[in-house]
Symmetry: C2
């Protein structure tokens, strides 16, 4: 009797992974990975987006070219419907940009890029003394007396000790977002920021900034890690350092971009929608390969992979490629509004917007019941190296659906290298590893297969 | 009572991870990672090995320069003793090498490299008809009739469907190792091989081959993946294809290289040795950054990291950088012989020879008791992304110690990209990701800390 009780408890709390794996389903998953790793269709699509179309910033014609191309690709892949949803977005313009540091000797050029949304400098540029701060607290301590008429240099860092680089990003990005707004309050004439990255290289990384409701709008730029080191070094000598900054950039009204929406109908539960998406826009530096061409490739590949292995899904798989995530989530908001107006609910919605690294797991932003449902599938994924199944997650483009829909999943690739490329000229197809990308597509397709087959 | 029983069973089978973690020890581990990720000492060392010293093939003076440099670096890092152990190794020479395919039109140049140990071609090269095989079985089926006087093209692949690329390598490398030996039996005049890699690029990958006891020695080379695709394509047209191969290469007697052996004495169990090592030699293409400069950097960093966080180890930590792993394990054999003769036993021996990828875990080649001991430490590593703690492992350089010592551990970094670089010109410092490398050093140092503190 005791033996029976122990077994019963074991069954409740300690069942082996093997008992949770259905061998037929495991075989389908093996086929999905084998298909992805062999054919590399996602990589070929991503290569086209990067090399033929190129960067796809908010308001660009390239973003529209990508949307039209993706629509056709989805129809060719067997979509029952695919259409383009108009989205009004800010039109971002970037022209020449540079800065030079003056510290007595020959002026030193610093790799420089305007933050997204920055106003331009005057045509003659802006030249002023540099004052360095390591935090908003230091800025506040300097006050108007220490800042007025100067260029504020945010020598702020991502915390290298954090293993999740997304957490490290979260702690540092406020200086990019609000640095100009805060410095403007004290009369600064411009800001420059140590690029928000962990790679100690010489490329500047852009990204969105905001003036909030402030009427004071000062030019704001990022400089490379190495340039920040040099500026810090020059300032550390105790001498006066001036910076000359020139930015030709700005938001030039609005333009029309498009969300791509492609439906692959389910057999008997076609009304239940399984959404998988990424954002089709990118920053203008690089090619938007990791951010978020990879997510688009992942999403586009899901229905194809299921088709190739002969799985007929009960539910409708909807691929959505959102316009303008980077500069205000316009595509995501437009899509969510449309869904609400048409009473379209999503049984599950997954976004891939963490790059093309080796898959590590999924984050589930849903009820505990759903979290457990997804966690119970982990034994299928462990052989493929996915171990992280956690509560919490989704993606920026899913956020406008929160409170309306209930099940959000974020794909989690390895994050160690993501911010090396992020928003910089390094974010190119050359830095995409085909196998890792394809393992991502296969992981998402496998999760959709398992959920649909539940 | 039932409640008590359930709790007892839970304690046996389902204890939580948290209960296995000592918070003081977890804090030390956090310090180790933070130190590694901040200072990046291993990356600086590796950069020196790659950029200043360069490739370190068997018998080269560069291998000796690296050994002398590493000895000094270890003494500067606080080693109590560091010395160079002489190792007699084959002296490998590589001169010009090329091949051209003739299929009617303009000859097509194929990126080509001699396999390590190949004899050279005659000075006028060798030109013959190509016959393609996909396996030794196909070679055998062709027999002497189909092979004699021809160049055998091994169009063999790593299995892309295997998630462990080391397993995929294991299945394909026999054609590199024994391809010339087998083809020679049937009168082939040379062999070329699709490079043993998963990246579909245009660089050839070298690596050791063997003629076994055969007196027939035919030249043997690898061609790039894309060249193999092209050759396969030309042959697929049903036309006669000839290949002209020129290899100036060979083993030119022997030379003296060195093992580096550096001891950092323990406080009260100095006789118990914890060995951590990598091999200092590399192939001659590239810089030997992943294979195995990274392993050397990992090993060299372990005592420094423990010192920086203020941990005084009970046992002696011995850093060993072996000579000539690639071309016959001479350094490992010499070290093992010396250990046996001097009755030196190792309490534990760990090798890092899987590159600088993000750490995924450890393989433990030891008694079940030891395997469980290491597996019990997994909860300390999960926050750093290490989930794979498996029985079985070690490293090629530890193999001569098997049967003499009993506890071998292999460090397991992510393997997805390793064979992209492996034995090719791509294996350079540029392809090393500093954070991933440093996380490897920190992972090994943390394991040594936990084991030593048991």
């Amino acid at each position: 009797m005791m033996k029976f009780r122990i077994l019963a408890v074991l069954a409740l709390v300690g069942f082996s992974a093997a008992s949770q794996v259905d061998t037929d389903k495991a075989a389908v998953i093996k086929s999905i990975y084998t298909e992805a790793l062999g054919e590399q269709q996602g990589y070929e699509w991503l290569k086209y987006m990067c090399e033929v179309i190129g960067p796809r910033p908010s308001g660009s014609e390239a973003a529209n070219e990508a949307a039209r191309w993706a629509k056709v690709a989805m129809l060719q892949a067997g979509a029952d419907t695919a259409w383009l949803q108009e989205v009004e977005v800010p039109k971002w313009y970037r022209g020449p940009e540079w800065s030079k540091a003056y510290a007595g000797g020959v002026p030193v050029s610093l790799p420089t890029t305007a933050l997204g949304g920055s106003v331009p400098t005057p045509k003659e540029g802006v030249r002023a003394e540099v004052v360095e701060v390591g935090s908003f607290e230091e800025l506040e301590a300097l006050g108007r007396e220490g800042v007025e008429g100067k260029i504020v240099f945010y020598n702020t860092y991502m915390d290298h000790s954090l293993i999740s680089t997304f957490n490290a990003y979260g702690g540092a990005v406020k200086y990019r977002w609000a640095g100009a707004m805060e410095a403007g309050k004290y009369g600064a004439v411009a800001t420059v920021l140590r690029s928000v990255t962990l790679l100690r290289d010489d490329l500047p990384h852009t990204g969105a900034m905001s003036y909030g409701d402030s009427e004071v709008k000062i030019p704001s730029a990022a400089i490379s890690w190495q340039a920040a080191d040099m500026l810090d070094h020059l300032l550390g000598k105790g001498q006066k350092v001036e910076l000359e900054l020139f930015l030709d950039c700005g938001v030039q009204g609005t333009a029309t971009n498009y969300n791509v929406i492609a439906d692959f109908k389910g057999t008997d539960k076609a009304d239940e929608i399984m959404l998988v998406g990424g954002h089709i826009d990118s920053w203008d530096l690089g090619q938007g390969a990791q951010d978020d061409g990879a997510g688009c490739a992942h999403a586009m590949q899901v229905p194809s992979l299921l088709k190739e292995v002969g799985y007929e899904h009960h539910r409708t798989i909807r691929v959505v490629l959102w316009a303008n995530e980077e500069f205000g989530l316009d595509g995501a908001k437009e899509y969510a509004n449309w869904a609400r107006m048409n009473n379209v609910h999503h049984w599950v919605a997954l976004e891939s917007d963490g790059g093309a690294g080796v898959p590590r797991g999924f984050g589930v932003g849903a009820s505990d019941e759903w979290v457990e449902k997804v966690k119970a599938l982990k034994p299928y994924f462990v052989p493929y190296g996915l171990h992280e199944f956690a509560k919490g997650g989704g993606g920026a483009d899913l956020s406008p659906l929160r409170g309306y829909d209930n099940v959000f999943i974020g794909f989690r690739p390895d994050s160690q290298r993501y911010f090396d490329f992020h928003h910089s000229a390094r974010d190119r197809i050359d830095a995409i590893h085909p196998r890792s990308l394809e393992m991502g597509s296969a992981s998402i397709a496998s999760l959709f297969f398992l959920l649909d087959a539940l």
